[in-house]
């Protein structure tokens, strides 16, 4: 699963946002009868055959991703086996970092804490900055999506701003806030907000004329329209933006923390580099990747639950 690329952010004029992420896979199973049928057939099968089938699915799902992983570890082990290799092989990494892996909760005061505390601090920053971006981005995107004129005038600005690398905002933020913590949160916010604004605006603009007509015939007031029609109709687009946003936030926090210091996984990595603890860096990277994966998946999952039935009509 790759982190969604920035290129996935569509322009306001592109209607193809939903294709940019597999969120479109929120299809409701259209064949409940077939499902019921297959359940019935498995039920009538003998137990042994069922176990065999289960084993087969597990093998099919688990084994394929394991193979390249093992190959990768093997090649890495071979390449870095020599005494003067620049990087440690996997076996050395495991030996060096056993304490780090097995005791993520230690806290010896100051910055000397287990990985759990560093990751927690990073996650807190991300969640704060990302929440602000989600609320602000959806609100601004909704306003912009209502007006053709606002879209035309603001789109070029947003398209330029969204290409500014997250870290480029940091000095400006430090100058403005005069402190590391709010600056890091601002960097998260400013990184995540553009895809959310843009996707929300596109989603609002693409609400089918028919739904608007239904609302007009029913004489829904603006609040009812927003709650009953606008938000559900735009939800698949909004969640595409939210999902791109969470990926970018996690990318940005590690870099930002390297510069601002304090507790956080970014600083942990930078500190390990300064102390030449290469094995620690590798373990931290693995954690960063896994958490990034889960952040992406959880936003996608919420999206699937919320937009159930919206993607197809």
């Amino acid at each position: 699963m790759s982190v969604p690329a920035r290129d996935n952010v569509p322009t306001l004029d592109s209607a193809a946002v939903r294709e940019s992420l597999p969120l479109g896979g929120t299809k409701v199973a259209p064949f409940p009868k077939v499902q019921a049928l297959s359940v019935a057939t498995t039920r009538t099968r003998p137990r042994g055959a069922r176990l065999l089938k289960l084993a087969r699915t597990v093998a099919g799902e688990v084994v394929p991703p394991l193979i390249p992983l093992l190959v990768l570890l093997g090649v890495w082990e071979l390449l870095c086996a020599g005494p003067d290799a620049a990087l440690p092989p996997p076996s050395r990494v495991l030996a060096d970092t056993w304490e780090l892996i097995t005791d993520p909760f230690y806290d010896r005061g100051g910055l000397d804490k287990g990985l759990f505390w560093h990751l927690l601090a990073s996650l807190q920053r991300v969640l704060l900055g990302y929440s602000l971006a989600a609320v602000g981005g959806v609100a601004v995107g909704t306003l912009i999506g209502q007006s053709q004129w606002a879209m035309r005038s603001l789109d070029p600005l947003f398209q330029v701003l969204r290409t500014v690398p997250p870290l480029a905002w940091l000095p400006l933020a430090l100058a403005a806030f005069k402190s590391g913590e709010p600056s890091a949160i601002f960097v998260i916010f400013i990184t995540a907000v553009w895809p959310i604004v843009i996707n929300t605006a596109v989603g609002i603009r693409n609400i089918p004329e028919d739904y608007r007509n239904v609302a007009r015939v029913l004489q829904l007031n603006p609040l009812e329209y927003a709650v009953k029609i606008m938000i559900p109709a735009a939800a698949p687009y909004i969640f595409t933006g939210l999902r791109i946003g969470i990926g970018l936030s996690w990318l940005a926090i590690v870099a930002a923390e390297m510069l601002i210091g304090g507790v956080g996984i970014g600083f942990f990595i930078w500190d390990a580099w300064n102390s030449s603890l290469i094995s620690d860096i590798i373990v931290a990277l693995i954690y960063v990747g896994i958490i990034g994966f889960f952040l992406d998946r959880s936003v996608a999952l919420v999206g699937v639950l919320v937009t159930r039935g919206t993607a197809t009509s």
């Binding site: 299809k27 739904y211 007509n213 004489q219 009812e224 937009t307 009509s313």
Partner: protein, 265 residues
Amino acid sequence: MASAYLSIEQVGKSFTRGGSTTQVLADIDLKVGRGEYISIIGHSGCGKSTLLNIVAGLTPVSTGAVLLDNSEVNAPGPDRAVVFQNHSLLPWLTVYDNVRLAVDKVFRGRKSAAERHDWTMHNLDLVQMAHARTRRPSEISGGMKQRVGIARALAMEPKVLLLDEPFGALDALTRAHLQDSVMQIHASLGNTVMMITHDVDEAVLLSDRIVMMTNGPAARIGEILDVPLARPRERLDLVADPTYLRCRAAVLKFLYERHRLVEAA
């Protein structure tokens, strides 16, 4: 004919797009009596939907006016319920919730929650869709979606029911079933109906009068045909009925002899 319930008076409509103005409708004059079933037939693009949307209040008139029950129509409202060609159910709501949304909005303050539930179920029953109330639009067939769309419109207790090619996208068998359902509902509730169609048989089978429109631009009402067939009508009995055949021939003549659609090259 009884006094006009719905009255379309000298309605004209032009659209301005990119600096150029095209007149779509001109001098449309039509009186519809209470409980009457009117069909509007004409070639594609002549302005049938535009006329229906004007009556619905979704599109403003350029000239003239529409009066319903002696008050002027100038905004959409639930007293003119529309069944759109592509059903336009909200895909995130179940069949029940799609109808309930309309019921809640129209009868809030007038009916209790229990009464609104009963009314929703009653209307789903009318179109034989109560069994699918928990399904979402994506899980039911095109014909079923149209039924739910009709239930939603009926549930508003509209003064006029506006149908824009309601069966256009359906196969012949499903269409026949739905036509029968609509005839039954019309017979029992006595709704005033204005239906757009491009199907000659459908128009003759369902209508009291057929309004035939000339081709655009600036389409007008070319002719209005009375369909003096007794109700209830049975499609099988009508196959060889002389009145039916005469009406059918008249509409076909109008459409394919006198106002043949000349394709712009």
